[in-house]
């Protein structure tokens, strides 16, 4: 039984490591920042996930108690990865892109333009200051 568990755990760790490696290679290989952003947000989630599941299986089978920390780690990871990616993308848009290079939207993207409510507020302020 021990051997099967150990094989399962090592299998999970190796699988996770492969995904982490592929994700890192993707960061080297892709041509620009926006495509590079796809590698760490996805390919590495399974990398960390593999290690975490392996850890849970280890504690459950070889140590004999349930460990729930891993669930929390993956929860925090899933909550924070999209936010990090979002901010990196926004910083990139500010430094390297013009609104013209992006698809059009009615009121502009929030990285470049204020919300319609704020715009009308500013407008009304400037018109009152003129009078």
């Amino acid at each position: 039984m021990h051997l099967i568990h150990e094989l399962l755990i090592s299998g999970l760790i190796v699988l996770g490591a492969i995904f982490a490696l592929v994700g890192s290679y993707g960061m080297l290989k892709f041509p620009n920042l926006m495509t590079r952003l796809h590698a760490p947000t996805k390919a590495t989630t399974l990398g960390v996930g593999g290690a975490l599941v392996a850890s849970m299986v280890y504690f459950l089978t070889l140590e004999g108690h349930v460990s729930i920390h891993e669930v929390l780690i993956s929860l925090f990871l899933f909550l924070t990865a999209p936010i990090t990616a979002h901010f990196i993308a926004k910083a990139y848009m500010h430094k390297h892109l013009k609104p013209k290079q992006l698809p059009k939207t009615q009121s502009g993207w929030s990285t470049y333009s204020a919300s319609p409510a704020e715009q009308s507020h500013k407008h009304s302020q400037s018109s009152t200051s003129h009078q």
């Binding site: 994700g23 996805k42 390919a43 920390h69 990616a85 993308a89 926004k90 502009g108 919300s115």
Partner: protein, 173 residues
């Protein structure tokens, strides 16, 4: 703001976010990995204090309609994350850079509540070949960068049908 809100009940003043309190309690207990009374008391204190302190940042409660559907959604997204990992890994390993059709997409949003939009944007980032990058200034569409898409209209329709329609059922909009 405060002057316009009607008088709040005892529960609303002391437990403005019951769901957040419950989550904080459970997460704190899980972090400790033990069920001792001391940790439970501390967890109770935190789950009472943090919602009170952060209440002004988050005046309204998310309106969740179907908790069962929310759970099903979480499982669906977890499955999609596994698929996404394999797809992106395959693209990294087997595709040449110059054959990638990466592009920007504008996804018009049907959901309006901030919680639903956040969940949708987060889901898009975690799932195959898409990263959500920005919200339009009026909050009605989402800017998404795609790693490899041949049919843009189909990609937009696919994301809206798979995730947004479900979120719309989960949250009151």
């Amino acid at each position: 703001m405060a002057s316009t809100t009607p008088k709040r009940s005892w529960r609303q003043r002391h437990f403005p976010h019951p769901l957040l309190s419950l989550t904080l309690f459970v997460v704190w207990m899980l972090l400790q990995n033990s069920l001792s009374l001391a940790h439970a008391v501390l967890a109770l204190f935190l789950s009472w204090g943090i919602p009170l302190l952060t209440h002004s940042l988050w005046p309204e409660r998310p309106k969740i309609r179907h908790y069962g559907k929310a759970m099903a959604y979480v499982l669906l997204v977890m499955w999609d994350i596994v698929v996404a990992n394999i797809q992106v890994a395959a693209i990294i390993l087997f595709r040449r850079n110059n054959s990638l059709q990466s592009c920007w997409l504008e996804i018009p949003l049907s959901v309006r509540s901030p919680e639903a939009i956040t969940a949708f944007a987060g889901t898009i980032t975690m799932t195959p070949g898409t990263v959500s990058c920005d919200l339009s200034a009026d909050g009605r569409s989402l800017l998404v960068h795609c790693l490899d898409v041949s049919d843009q209209a189909e990609a937009i329709a696919g994301m809206k049908a798979r995730y947004e329609a479900r979120l719309q059922e989960i949250f009151h909009d």
